[in-house]
């Protein structure tokens, strides 16, 4: 029972981390129709900026300053790169962001080297929060979860209760009309892109200390973020939260399940036949924990392509 609770909590925290990174991506897609391949690179930049600033201004100021820097980079990318190729179509924008992700990753390798860097949680935070089932639960995980939830609440309130939020939502829904009414829609686009990038940067600054900070961070997280955005619904913030939690919990719980399809078939007495066939049938669910999100993504795309909370059809 305790193990289950620990696994659930770990899954939720991991899911919240995924949410921090994918929130920006889903907003950007909902607004501009651009699937930003460089989004995971913003995550990595956040971690590296925080690492560089940590020695100069301390941990918490670095965690606050680093997303701002990444946000500025996001604004620059939108204004000088994406806007140029916008009228050529979605494919060009996509490929441009893909090329940018290469450039960012390689530049980081150029300046910081190929090995992981020494970005660690400050000792004051590296303490256990409570004990559960004989193991300790680190306080920093709760801090990460708390930051993610605060972020979700802040963005939700911003979008639904403030004037700026109304303008942003109308620019997502009907950009021409919003422009005709006199709002500066290109500025809104730039702002949303910048804020999305800053959110990913915040996730990187916070998570990079807990996990490792290395030049392959973007690759490791990159595809999972896409799965989250698709499963949740392109453009839906609530969907992104739901999907991240779902995927985080499934991945975490799957590791504990050492059964395979052959064991399931044993209920029908077909276990020996299944073991004889081998291959897919004898693969343990725990070894497949990284594959399950893709199967989920495919299922959602075929059955309900709008995602869990996106538009229908």
């Amino acid at each position: 029972m305790d193990q289950l609770i620990v696994s659930l909590m770990n899954g939720i925290v991991y899911g919240l981390l995924l949410f921090m990174v994918s929130a920006g991506l889903t907003l950007i897609f909902g607004m501009m129709g651009v699937l930003n391949f460089a989004h995971a690179s913003f995550y990595m930049l956040g971690a590296y900026f925080a690492y560089s600033l940590q020695g100069v201004i301390g941990f918490w100021p670095a965690v606050i300053a680093s997303p701002l820097l990444v946000g500025v980079i996001g604004v620059v990318v939108e204004r000088f790169f994406l806007r140029r190729v916008h009228h050529h179509g979605h494919a060009h924008e996509l490929l441009l962001t893909f090329g940018l992700s290469f450039i960012i990753a390689e530049s980081i390798k150029l300046f910081f080297g190929n090995f992981p860097v020494d970005y660690r949680i400050p000792a004051a935070l590296d303490v256990p929060a409570f004990s559960l089932g004989g193991a300790q639960y680190p306080a920093y995980r709760l801090v990460m979860g708390g930051i993610a939830i605060a972020m979700f609440v802040a963005i939700y309130l911003l979008l639904t209760r403030t004037r700026v939020g109304i303008v942003v939502r109308s620019a997502i829904y009907k950009p021409r009309m919003a422009e005709a009414l006199g709002h500066n829609v290109p500025l809104v686009f730039m702002g949303v892109f910048g804020v999305g990038a800053a959110l990913a940067g915040l996730a990187g600054a916070v998570a990079g200390a807990f996990y490792t900070t290395n030049p392959n961070m973007a690759l490791e997280l990159g595809v999972m973020v896409f799965v989250v955005v698709v499963v949740g619904g392109l453009g839906s913030l609530g969907g992104a939260m739901l999907a991240s939690l779902l995927i985080g919990v499934i991945t975490s719980l799957a590791v504990g399940i050492d059964r395979s399809l052959a064991d399931l078939l044993a209920l029908f007495g077909a276990s020996d036949w299944a073991r004889g066939v081998g291959g897919l049938l004898t693969l343990k669910v725990s070894s497949l924990s990284a594959t399950i999100p893709f199967a989920l993504m495919l299922l959602i795309l075929l059955v309900r392509p709008g995602g869990l909370m996106g538009e229908k059809g």
Binding site: A91, H92, F98, G99, L100, V223, V230, T291, F294
Partner: protein, 439 residues
């Protein structure tokens, strides 16, 4: 008189191209010949991809899956049949074609139910699913060492030398690309364009759009499978890293860099980028950075790709005479050259200064003197003015030439619109419609 299926000009072009490619082994060294084989395979893969992406308008993100399926199908066929009986070595790509076709039909049936971004996401999901499952299915995919095989002699040839493999690959690539071209001239090929332009209308005209989409997907996957099997015939092994999303992304990039609107554009883009990777990877450690910069620059400044560049120049020639064009082209080429030289220099210098080993050496030196950097066979001192002045000068002069080129283009366009306004009594049928230039 009905127009010919294939124009005389296209035939002549194809024949010249084929002859040139056939003569390549006598012009290249052994190492470059092998690179040529990889370039041909990449060109075929990109052309197969363009059938789906450029002609049918369906952007797929997981095309490496069909390449890989073709590759593994062939490697298992090679191990099972041993290059004899029904499937001698030269006919092995048929196994890849069959596997690609079948798997492409199944995947295509699912994928073409949706369109646009959702279609792309489905193809990505399928490819990623195969990619994550492959390491676990050892019997089929052979673990991380892959499945290994050996080419067997057939038809009097032993297929042991690179030369024979080159001619085999060339023959298959020419036949496949030829078939792909002929496809575009058939009614079905025209319908494929219709899919891209307006699939709604096709539906109203009574065509089964889903079936059509699935067919095009399957055909594209079939030719991708042929490309995969050619790689297996050349490398004699197949590894599940072929399902990596990086390969799917590479084919999309190669296609767009070459230009989707021209039939041979993707082949050109793929050949160039493969050669770039092959040649530059041994010259410098930051070659991936250069590749990324190249992608971004092409997407921003040459949206119709390299083949589109040829079209642009042709249109310019139609509007203005040669004497006006030549200096413009020279300025542009000069600007590009200087900017790339300056950029490369700066990046290489930065890479050396920031490398771990250099920083460690610098720390070991007494009194904070920085040791010199090795580049192009000379030693450059990082603190010296000259080391940074050279790239700065190259970049500045390149930027200045680019500015001059743009000025000239604008002047030409202004002169043209002025003369057109002054002479609108003469209907000019050959003026292109872009007064602002095409760069």
């Amino acid at each position: 008189m009905r127009p010919a299926i294939v124009s005389l000009r296209a035939l002549a072009l194809a024949a010249t191209g084929a002859a040139l490619l056939a003569a390549l082994p006598f012009l290249l060294t052994q190492g470059l010949l092998n690179a040529a084989i990889q370039m041909l395979i990449a060109a075929l893969f990109a052309s197969a991809y363009n059938l789906l992406c450029g002609q049918a308008g369906m952007l797929s993100f997981g095309h490496a899956a069909y390449f890989g399926v073709g590759a593994f199908g062939t490697v298992h066929a090679m191990n099972a049949v041993g290059g004899a009986g029904l499937l001698p070595t030269p006919l092995l790509p048929l196994a890849g074609a069959a596997c690609g076709l079948v798997f492409g039909a199944i995947a295509g049936w699912f994928a073409t139910q949706r369109s646009g971004t959702y279609f792309a996401m489905i193809t990505l999901a399928i490819a990623e699913l195969v990619h994550s499952l492959a390491p676990h299915l050892k019997g089929l995919f052979g673990g991380e060492a892959g499945v290994s095989t050996m080419r067997m002699p057939a038809w009097g040839l032993d297929f042991g030398s690179t030369l024979q493999v080159y001619y085999l690959t060339l023959a298959w690539v020419l036949v496949s690309v030829g078939l792909l071209y002929l496809y575009t001239r058939t009614p079905l090929g025209r319908l494929t364009f219709g899919l891209r332009e307006n699939s709604h209308r096709l539906r109203f005209l009574g065509y089964n759009v889903h079936g059509l989409g699935m067919l095009v997907f399957a055909l594209s996957a079939m030719f991708a499978g042929i490309a995969g099997s050619l790689q297996v015939v050349s490398n004699e092994s197949a590894n599940y890293v072929v399902f990596d999303p990086a390969l799917s992304a590479a084919v999309v990039l190669n296609t767009y860099i070459g230009g989707v609107k021209v039939f041979l554009g993707p082949a050109l883009g793929a050949a160039l980028m493969t050669f770039f990777g092959y040649a530059v990877s041994d010259l410098t450690q930051s070659w991936l950075l250069y590749q990324g910069i190249l992608f971004v620059l092409v997407m921003m400044f040459m949206p119709s790709g390299l083949a589109g560049l040829g079209g642009t120049t042709a249109r310019l020639r139609q509007r203005f005479d040669l004497a006006r064009i030549v200096p413009l082209v020279a300025l542009s080429v000069g600007a590009a050259l200087l900017l790339s030289l300056g950029g490369t220099f700066a990046i290489e210098m930065l890479q050396r200064v920031f490398s771990q080993d250099y920083r460690a050496m610098a720390r070991l030196q007494p009194a904070g003197a920085w040791p010199p950097l090795q580049f192009l066979g000379r030693a450059w001192l990082p603190a010296a003015f000259a080391t940074w002045a050279v790239p700065a000068a190259l970049l500045a002069s390149g930027a200045w030439l680019a500015h001059l080129a743009r000025q000239r283009l604008r002047a030409l366009a202004d002169a043209e619109s002025a003369s057109a306004a002054g002479a609108n009594a003469h209907p000019s049928t050959r003026l292109a419609a872009h007064p602002g230039g095409t760069a």
